[in-house]
């Protein structure tokens, strides 16, 4: 079934419009079998819409959807080997926890005792043992979410779509469920297409991250690629807090910003091209003023657990710096950045 080098789902030139407004602008995406893919992007960028196209709940205005090499544009949702954990859970209010989770298996006419064992397993997996008879209306938000995950997962689909499945959980349970979902995905060998707007979640769980903005895909890559080699300032900023400052590429390996020239490792830009310079807060080193490439005043310090987050004002720019050393507010400090930590990007031209 999986020809096309193990590609299981493929979106080709998908365009979606609502009321004349383009919500998805020609999405092209190949998803490999057994892969954990995350769609990451700000609210309203079209993540849920993309999932709805794959699930079959929405027809694209143009473009094709392929599943294992077969065009499935006209296949209705109930015939697609795909299950969904919906963003707003969409549990059946007239059924209890057990019957919600058993819904898919009952449709498949699985024997009752087999269903029973499977539901039990699922409940254990999502930490809801003993909740079988509980009415859906009497669950907390996090419990709803876990029932929704169990209800979709129990069918062992080839592809599972998860629309912010952990959004309502507290941090601890969220971390636990992240590990659990990842483990399930690997042991059951199911392709996960996971939607989140939490970049940390995306980076820790995924094999591939797809960064979206305003109905476009900005970048597709491994978490490491996306983090280290963001293609533009938007991705850099979204994937982790960054200092983004305008600069000018003097020549290959030399960039000017904040009124100074810096060595860098980027090349291939036009001479004197206006660029975005991206520097991660943890890549800025605080040094005595004499040794600094830049000099500024500490404006604020916040303790963040592992490190201190400082804002350092150099008059033309406020730098976000992470450091394990605490500096007094109001002191003058110097800052240094290694050439390889200076990321140069073409300015994104808004369409």
């Amino acid at each position: 079934m999986e020809n096309n080098n193990g590609t299981i789902i493929s979106l080709k030139d998908i365009v979606v419009e609502f009321d004349g407004e383009r919500i998805l602008k020609s999405i092209n995406l190949d998803i490999k079998d057994k892969e954990f893919v995350t769609l990451l992007g700000p609210s309203g960028c079209g993540k849920t819409t993309t999932l709805r196209i794959i699930g079959g709940f929405l027809n694209a205005d143009s473009g094709d959807v392929y599943f294992g090499g077969e065009r499935i544009n006209d296949v209705p949702p109930h015939k697609r080997n795909v299950n969904t954990v919906f963003q707003r859970y969409a549990l059946f209010p007239h059924l209890n926890v057990y019957d919600n989770i058993a819904f898919g298996l009952k449709l498949k006419k699985m024997p009752a005792n087999e269903i029973k064992t499977k539901v039990k397993e699922m409940l254990k997996l999502v930490n809801l043992e003993g909740y079988e008879r509980r009415s859906i209306t009497k669950l907390s938000g996090g419990q709803h979410q876990r029932v929704a995950i169990a209800r979709a997962l129990i069918n062992q689909p080839k592809v599972l779509l998860l629309d912010e499945p952990l959004g309502a959980l507290d941090l601890k349970l969220r971390k636990e469920m992240q590990v659990e979902l990842k483990r399930i995905q690997q042991s059951l060998e199911i392709t996960f297409i996971y939607v989140t707007h939490d970049q940390e979640e995306a980076l820790t769980m995924s094999d591939t991250v797809v960064v979206m903005k305003d109905g476009n895909i900005m970048q597709v890559g491994t978490p490491v690629d996306i983090y280290n080699e963001p293609v533009n300032a938007f991705v850099a900023d979204f994937i982790g807090e960054s200092n983004i400052i305008s600069g000018m590429m003097r020549r290959d390996f030399l960039v000017e910003f904040a009124g100074k020239e810096f060595e860098c490792v980027d090349r291939g830009f036009d001479r004197n091209e206006i660029v975005d310079v991206v520097i991660r807060p943890e890549d800025i080193e605080i040094v005595p003023t004499i040794q600094g490439q830049l000099e500024g005043v500490v404006e604020s310090v916040i303790f963040k657990g592992v490190h201190y987050e400082m804002v350092i004002d150099t008059l033309d720019f406020k730098w976000l710096v992470h450091s394990t050393k605490c500096e007094e507010v109001g002191t003058n400090v110097g800052m240094r950045v290694a050439p390889m930590d200076i990321h140069i990007m073409h300015k994104t031209t808004e369409e």
Partner: protein
């Protein structure tokens, strides 16, 4: 304390307009013309078995027809854009703004042997058909007059069914029929129950529809009661007795209805 005080007007209202009249019905039903306790009138009910049976039968048919018409309509309505829903609902309600008698008279002129429908059919060489003064005409009158009472409660529960729940059912492998049986019908059950009550009760006790569209030969319980109380055979006590029996019937039928749980409901409709 406050809430009790606030409830007082309603309690008084209920006492004056529900409990007292009910008491009167029972009083008259269980006494004879001289005011002595008697169940003579109740024991004469056997005479009217035919009429009871016909009333209930026609009301059941009318209720089922209303449900069949209203259910898909209410569902389609509930899935429309919100602003379109308003307009469509208005269209559903519009006939109700006209006087009940007027609407039923309109059907009389339509259905008459030399009425509008037969005339039109005559042009294409059909008929004339015997339409007025039949049981079919009575059912038609009931359906026409009471179908909004089925649509409204159904519509109001169906608007509360989120589209994503329907999508979830499809996602888990339900085809359209299974979505209907396993999700939409169970979730709209309260509306079905209310709608059935609101159509069945007025249908089973109507007398105007049967008199105007059913002719003399299709007497219903409503006609019978009306005859005892306002009509020729003036006998308040008998009229009250019949009312009591009718009430008991309605009560029993409703009790049976409410016994259906989801499983039986499914079986009933398949």
């Amino acid at each position: 304390m406050k809430s009790k005080l606030a409830a007082a007007p309603y309690l008084i209202w209920m006492a004056v307009f529900t409990i007292v009249p009910l008491g009167l019905v029972f009083y008259y039903g269980l006494t004879d013309q001289d005011g002595n306790f008697s169940i003579d009138n109740l024991s004469r009910m056997g005479m009217y078995t035919n009429i009871f049976f016909r009333s209930i039968w026609l009301a059941v048919i009318a209720t089922v027809v209303c449900l069949i018409i209203a259910y898909p309509l209410a569902f389609i309505l509930s899935r429309m854009d919100t602003h379109k829903q308003g307009t469509m609902l208005l269209l559903v309600m519009l006939p109700m703004w006209m006087n009940f008698l007027l609407r039923t008279y309109a059907w009389m002129t339509l259905l008459e042997t030399n009425g509008v429908i037969n005339k039109i059919l005559g042009f294409v060489g059909l008929g004339p058909f015997e339409m007025i003064n039949t049981q079919g005409a009575i059912v038609l009158g009931m359906v026409y007059n009471y179908v909004p009472f089925m649509i409204l409660p159904l519509y109001s529960v169906m608007t509360k069914i989120d589209n994503s729940v329907i999508e979830a059912a499809q996602d888990l492998g339900s085809n359209s029929r299974q979505v209907l049986m396993k999700v939409i019908i169970p979730l709209s059950k309260p509306g079905i129950m209310t709608g059935i009550t609101m159509v069945f009760v007025p249908s089973v006790s109507t007398f105007i529809i049967s008199r105007m569209l059913g002719g003399g030969s299709n007497m219903l319980i409503g006609d019978l009661i009306e005859q005892q109380i306002l009509g020729t055979s003036y006998n308040l006590n008998l009229g009250a007795s019949i009312s009591i029996v009718l009430m008991i019937f309605i009560f029993m039928i409703m009790a049976v209805m409410n016994q259906f749980d989801d499983e039986e409901m499914e079986g009933m409709i398949i």
